[in-house]
C-alpha cells in the first residue's frame, strides 16, 4: 500500500472537506491573480512589414493649394491665426483622424537654439488637432543619434506629453523598405513606418534654417528624417533626395516656423548669433510654396531642390500666385 492510499483510507469526512476548501481557495486565488493581469485590449504589435510599403496621399484635394503667413512672436498665436486663415483646423482634421506630426527633432539641443521644431508650436498643433476630433495625434522623427535624448532635450517629449499626443521613438523594428516609382535614390530604402501605420493625416513642422549642404532646411528637407539606414550617403546628392521625398510624401499641410530663423551655420547652429528674429509663421498646403517663401527669407531664392520640386510638379515656387493670406 502506498503512502497516499494509506492516507486516503484514513481520512475522515471533516478532513476531506477542509482539504477540498483549501484546494479550491488556492485555485481561486491563482485565477484571481490571472484575472487581475488579464487585458482584453492588448497592445497592438507594431512591427514594420519587411516588404515594400506605399504611402497614402494625405492631402485634401478640396482644400486646394493655399498659403497663409502670420506675423508675431508667440508661436501658439501665429499658428492658430495662420491655420484659421486657411479655413480653420476643422477643414483639415476630422473626427477620428489619426494624425502624424513629423517634427524636426534631429538634435539634442535646447529649443532656444532653433535647430529643432519648437515645443510650443508642436504642443499647440496637437491641441488643435485633438480639439478638432482627432482620435490620436502622433509625433515622430528619426534623429539616428540617441532619439531619446533628442526628444527630451529639445523639449518635444514634454510638449507631446502635455498636450495629449503620443511620441513614437524609432527602434530597430520601426522601418520598412520603400521605393519611389521612377526614383533615382529612394529604392528599397528603410522608411520610418510604425508611426505612420493607420495614419489618416500628415503634418510636417519644420524650423527655417540655413543648411551647409542643401542651402536651407525647411519643410521638404524635413521629410529626410523619415529615412533610416545610412542615409548620410544622400548628402552627396542632397537636392535630388529632397525632391524625391517631396514627390513621395503628400502631406495634409506643412508648417514652416520662421519666428526666429537660423541664418548661418545650419543645420546645427549653436550660437544665438546664428539666429535672427523674423516673426513669421507659414502654413501651406503646398510644401514647395512654403519653402520658396522661406528661401526668400534666408536670401537664397534659387535653391536647386526648389527648382527640382517645381519641375517635378510637386507644387509651385511662385508662392505669390497662391495669393498668400497675411494675418
Amino acid at each position: 500500500m502506498t503512502y497516499q492510499e494509506d492516507e486516503i483510507r484514513n481520512m475522515n469526512r471533516r478532513e476531506f472537506i477542509n482539504r477540498s476548501i483549501k484546494a479550491s481557495l488556492t485555485i481561486a486565488g491563482l485565477a484571481s491573480v490571472g484575472y487581475v493581469f488579464y487585458r482584453n485590449n492588448p497592445p497592438e504589435i507594431l512591427t514594420a512589414p519587411r516588404q515594400n510599403i506605399s504611402l497614402s496621399d494625405y492631402s485634401i484635394s478640396k482644400a486646394g493649394k493655399k498659403i497663409a503667413i502670420a506675423r508675431g512672436t508667440k508661436r501658439s498665436d501665429t499658428l492658430t491665426k495662420a491655420i484659421g486663415a486657411l479655413g480653420g483646423i476643422e477643414a483639415y482634421i476630422q473626427k477620428d483622424d489619426i494624425v502624424l506630426i513629423k517634427v524636426n527633432g534631429a538634435f539634442a539641443t535646447p529649443p532656444e537654439l532653433g535647430a529643432t521644431s519648437h515645443p510650443e508650436l508642436v504642443q499647440t498643433l496637437i491641441s488643435l488637432c485633438l480639439k478638432a476630433g482627432a482620435r490620436e495625434v502622433r509625433v515622430s522623427d528619426n534623429p539616428i543619434n540617441d532619439p531619446e535624448s533628442c526628444f527630451r532635450l529639445s523639449g518635444l517629449e514634454q510638449a507631446t506629453r502635455n498636450s495629449g499626443g503620443r511620441l513614437f521613438l524609432p527602434g530597430k523594428s520601426s522601418f520598412s523598405p520603400i521605393t519611389l516609382s521612377n526614383g533615382k535614390l529612394i529604392k528599397n530604402w528603410p522608411f520610418l513606418w510604425t508611426p505612420m501605420k493607420n495614419v489618416t493625416k500628415l503634418i510636417g513642422v519644420a524650423p527655417l534654417k540655413d543648411h551647409h549642404r542643401s542651402g536651407a532646411s525647411m519643410t521638404m528637407k524635413n521629410w529626410y528624417g523619415l529615412l533610416g539606414g545610412r542615409r548620410n550617403i544622400f548628402h552627396q546628392d542632397i537636392h535630388t533626395i529632397i525632391e524625391e521625398l517631396a514627390l513621395l510624401i503628400k502631406p495634409t499641410f506643412v508648417v514652416l516656423d520662421a519666428t526666429v530663423t537660423m541664418m548661418t551655420n545650419g543645420p546645427t547652429g549653436g550660437s544665438l548669433d546664428d539666429l535672427k528674429p523674423t516673426g513669421l509663421m507659414i502654413v501651406s498646403t503646398d510644401q514647395v510654396a512654403a519653402d520658396a517663401y522661406g528661401a526668400e527669407l534666408l536670401g537664397k531664392p534659387l535653391l536647386p531642390f526648389i527648382r527640382n520640386a517645381l519641375k517635378a510638379g510637386v507644387g509651385t515656387a511662385d508662392y505669390k500666385s497662391l495669393n498668400p493670406i497675411m494675418t
Binding site: 503620443r166 521613438l169 544665438l272
Partner: protein, 339 residues
C-alpha cells in the same frame, strides 16, 4: 514517501525556474514593437536603441579623459560620446561635410549641467581635425559675425551662449541654450579647465598673417580656406582678412607659394579664371604695381598680384577706388615684410 517528495520539489523548482525566465524575458521586451493605449499617455521609449556594431565608435583609453571636467560646480549628464567620419552626420547632420572636407578625425561630445540644476545644461564638442591648420579652417569659417573676441586663447571668441576656440589640432565649441550669467560663468570655467591641459602641444602656424597690414584690420576676421577659395580650384590655403575703411568693409587675401614663379602663375591663373567664368578684365596697368591684374565680376571687383612667393589681392570689393587703395597698401606692406 521520499520519492514523491523529491519529485514534488523538482517540479516546484522547475516552476520557479520558468517563472524567473518569464520575468526576465518580459522585462526586456522590445517596447518599440508595441503601442500603448492613448488614455495612459505613456511614451514608448526603447530601453536602448540597438545600433549595428560597425556604427558604434568607442573612445580609446587615452581619450576618455578629454572631456572629464574636474570642476565641482559642474556635473556630467552622461558619458562622453565619440563619432568618427562614418558617424559624424548622426550627430551634426548636414554640417558634417564642413568638417569631413577638412580632414576631420573624431568628435568627442559630452553634456554637463550646473550642479543641482539639471535644467541648466550645456554641451562640449571637441573636434580632432588632424592638424592645427585644419582646426583653424573650421574655426575661422564658422566665426559668428556678431561674436566677441575672447581672452581664453589666442584664437577664441564667444557669443551670448557659447565659446569657441582652437588648441592645437582641436577645435572646440561649448554651447548652451541659455545666455544667463550663471551659465556663461560655467562655460568659461569649463573652457579654462580644458585649456589648462596640453591637449595638443603643437600650436597652429599661420605665417600668412605676417603679410597683412595691421592698420584698419577688423579684429578676429582672419579666415583660412583650404581649397577652392572664391570658387577657383587652384586657390588652396588662402587666408583672408577683413578691413574697415570709411565704414566700408573690404577683404584682402594672402597665399604663400613655394617659389616666385609659382606665385606669378597663380596670380595670372586667377585673373584668367575670373575672365573665363563670367567676369570682365579690369585694366589696372596704370597703377604702377607690377603684375597687378583686375577683374570685374558683375560689380564685385577683384585684384590679384604676386610679390616674391606671396600671392595677394583684394576680393569682392564694391568700389574700385577702395580696392585699388588697399591693393597698393598691401603691395607695399608685403614688400616691407619680404625684405
Amino acid at each position: 514517501m521520499r520519492y514523491e517528495t523529491t519529485i514534488s520539489i523538482a517540479i516546484i523548482l522547475l516552476l520557479l525556474c520558468l517563472s524567473g525566465i518569464l520575468l526576465v524575458k518580459q522585462s526586456h521586451y522590445d517596447k518599440t514593437l508595441f503601442t500603448v493605449p492613448t488614455q495612459t499617455r505613456t511614451m514608448t521609449i526603447p530601453e536602448k536603441l540597438e545600433i549595428p556594431q560597425e556604427e558604434i565608435s568607442f573612445p580609446q583609453e587615452t581619450e576618455t579623459g578629454l572631456l572629464s571636467i574636474p570642476v565641482k560646480e559642474i556635473s556630467p549628464m552622461g558619458e562622453m560620446e565619440t563619432f568618427g567620419p562614418q558617424t559624424l552626420s548622426d550627430k551634426i547632420d548636414g554640417k558634417a561635410d564642413l568638417y569631413l572636407e577638412e580632414g576631420f578625425v573624431r568628435l568627442y561630445c559630452r553634456r554637463f549641467s550646473l550642479a543641482g540644476n539639471p535644467s541648466l545644461w550645456f554641451e562640449c564638442y571637441l573636434y580632432d581635425m588632424g592638424n592645427p591648420r585644419n582646426a583653424f579652417v573650421v574655426y575661422s569659417n564658422q566665426r559668428r559675425p556678431n561674436s566677441r573676441t575672447s581672452s581664453l586663447a589666442p584664437f577664441s571668441y564667444e557669443s551670448d551662449n557659447a565659446v569657441y576656440f582652437i588648441q592645437g589640432k582641436y577645435y572646440m565649441e561649448i554651447v548652451s541654450g541659455k545666455s544667463d550669467t550663471a551659465m556663461k560663468k560655467a562655460i568659461q570655467t569649463v573652457a579654462q579647465s580644458i585649456l589648462k591641459r596640453p591637449l595638443d602641444t603643437v600650436q597652429v602656424s599661420l605665417p600668412e598673417i605676417t603679410y597683412f597690414p595691421a592698420k584698419s584690420l577688423v579684429q578676429g576676421s582672419y579666415k583660412l580656406y583650404a581649397h577652392n577659395a572664391f570658387g577657383y580650384d587652384q586657390f588652396s590655403n588662402v587666408m583672408t582678412a577683413v578691413y574697415k575703411l570709411d565704414k566700408k568693409e573690404i577683404t584682402l587675401f594672402i597665399i604663400l607659394q613655394s617659389n616666385e614663379e609659382k606665385a606669378k602663375k597663380t596670380a595670372e591663373g586667377y585673373h584668367a579664371f575670373m575672365v573665363e567664368y563670367g567676369g570682365e578684365s579690369w585694366d589696372v596697368s596704370n597703377q604702377n604695381l607690377p603684375g597687378l591684374y583686375g577683374g570685374d565680376l558683375l560689380g564685385d571687383y577683384d585684384l590679384v598680384f604676386s610679390r616674391g612667393k606671396v600671392v595677394a589681392g583684394v576680393h569682392g570689393a564694391k568700389d574700385k577706388d577702395t580696392a585699388l587703395k588697399m591693393a597698393s597698401e598691401l603691395y607695399k606692406y608685403i614688400g616691407s615684410q619680404i625684405q
